[in-house]
């Protein structure tokens, strides 16, 4: 178990290093001399200042040395400075990270719970009206762009009926505390989390349905039936547990898509997370901040993948924790 985790962590660090190197070259692909760009972002562009920037960030040194400086900076959590926002990039990101984690994890929990539930129902009643209805709904949600779902949610629940707030993390100026504050945040969270969750719910529904139908025909299910186990036990202990394996794999694969969806969702709902920060950086062409958020997203995906790998091994009765 431990050696397995260690192995995965080492692999993750190598991938992260590769992403950082990619990042380094991407920032140099950005139009113009980085020092001039930075000076422009800071609102001044005289020669002396540009030269100072060049020296400060080691831009006058050879490329390999610059790369080394860059990697060393990231290793110490220094993601550079955002001249537009006049703050270190890592500070800006750390401030926004909790909101994004809250949003993505809630959306993930909703999508997984509902997706497995609907998928199980569809498989249980395969071929009936219920199955067809669930399958059609899943197909439609799977084809809707997230930003559009978000806007339709606002039209329905904030404009047509005034049930849910259409933007932000909490009611501005309300200064609520304790339980009232929690409820306020939860109200703001429902629409973004549902929006982000619906697309993934559709994928998990389809996957759970397909994989349950697949497992149902296998010999060990027949054996369980022959043993005279009650149907509910067979469905839960034998079919569902095995059918969940591809769903867990899919969840790992989707980590990156989930973060990408968060960028869109946070933008529409003005949710103060790193996705919204990425959009702001985009609008202002703040490349340091943009790439800082990109690295952070990659780290989140790596961590999420590590967790799904561990869960996979917990769910799969066949795999032992030997590395």
């Amino acid at each position: 178990m431990l050696s397995f985790v260690a192995q995965r962590v080492v692999k993750g660090v190598i991938v992260l290093l590769a992403i950082v190197v990619l990042n380094f070259f991407l920032i140099r692909l950005a139009p113009g001399d980085p020092a001039v760009v930075m000076a422009g972002e800071a609102g001044a562009s005289d020669q002396v200042f540009v030269q100072q920037l060049r020296e400060k960030f080691g831009l006058d040194k050879p490329l390999p040395e610059q790369l080394f400086i860059y990697v060393k900076g990231i290793a110490t959590l220094d993601l550079g400075f955002s001249f537009r926002q006049q703050a270190p990039v890592s500070k800006l990101i750390l401030e926004r990270l909790p909101a994004t984690l809250l949003l993505t994890l809630t959306a993930f929990a909703i999508s997984l719970a509902l997706g497995v539930l609907f998928g199980t129902f569809a498989a249980r009643f395969a071929g009936t009206f219920l199955d067809t209805a669930i399958t059609i709904f899943a197909l439609i949600f799977y084809a809707m762009p997230i930003f559009w779902v978000a806007l339709m949610g606002i039209l329905l629940f904030s404009v047509a009926v005034d049930w849910l707030p259409s933007f932000g993390y909490e009611t501005v100026g309300a200064n609520l505390t304790g339980l009232a504050h929690l409820i306020d945040v939860a109200k703001h969270l429902i629409m973004p989390a549902m929006t982000l969750g619906l697309f993934f719910m559709a994928t998990y529904t389809r996957m759970t349905r397909a994989s349950m139908l697949e497992v149902k025909r296998l010999d060990f299910v027949k054996t369980a039936r022959a043993k005279g186990l009650p149907d509910a036990v067979i469905q839960r202990r034998h079919v569902l547990r095995n059918a969940l394996l591809p769903v867990v794999t899919l969840a790992g694969v989707h980590a990156g898509t989930l973060i990408g969806g968060a960028v869109i969702t946070e933008t529409v709902f003005a949710w103060p997370g790193i996705g919204r920060l990425m959009y702001d950086a985009l609008l202002q062409r703040d490349y340091n901040l943009l790439l800082g958020v990109f690295v952070t997203c990659s780290v989140m995906v790596l961590i999420f993948n590590l967790i799904t790998d561990l869960v996979y091994r917990l769910v799969d009765p066949r795999i032992e924790f030997a590395a």
Binding site: L26, P31, M144, P145, F147, L151, I154, V263, F294
Partner: protein, 279 residues
Amino acid sequence: MKQFWKSMLKSPSGVIGLVILLLAISVAVFGPLLFPNSPWRMVQRPFLPPFMLSTVPLGTDALGRDVFAGMIFGARVSLLVGLVSTLVALVVGVPIGAMAGYFGGKVDDALMRFTEFFQTIPSFALAIVLVAILQPSIYSIVASIAVVSWPPVARLVRGEVLSLRTREYVQAAVVTGQSNTWIILREILPNALSPVIVLASLMVATAILLESSLSFLGLGDPNLISWGYMVGAGRTVIRQAWWITVFPGVAILISVLGLNLIGEGLNDALNPRLSREGR
């Protein structure tokens, strides 16, 4: 081929999907000829609601531009970006997967690590960064969508090649001294085609969604109107004018749905064994 169309037309999802795709393609090709209103020109007063004037059936946006015209011209961008970026992704992914599967060993290891790396990077975030840095244009959009969507192709092709290369007819080709390139191109890849076609149809759908999301964020080609851009532009006035955001979104939904249905239909038609078992 006849057999293929027969089974394709037997699957309801395939038929619905084909109808939708044909409709979308004809709108993209002939629409701008039949409906020459420029999507950028002001044709009526701003915020004209839909179904009021037959000349502007879906109303106008905040600048008095024709929403219907925008949707017709937007079909071109969506379909074009979807198809071309998928083609580029295939051009990158198929050779990588084929080489990994055929040569095995160190080549396989290296190519698969490379593929996994690209699969780990959050794809939409990478696409945003790439388009922002290369500057938004139809080329940078196609390129960045291709960059984030080739890895599944490579993995799929590798798996197929891995199982095909041990077949007797491939070994016969090896024994008769055919070159590796010849064997991969003429003996192996044609037999690995069907799952790739299914995947490609789904990739076009994903590419359309990606393009619309990029345009929505303001990263679309500034010279081309697209559905995502229209929704993005209508977002701020959604309380006054719902139609500006609703209609282009429906267009995206229907095209993506159509392509996904085609993917299912193709899957039924090309892998009949698999689909029968699934039921």
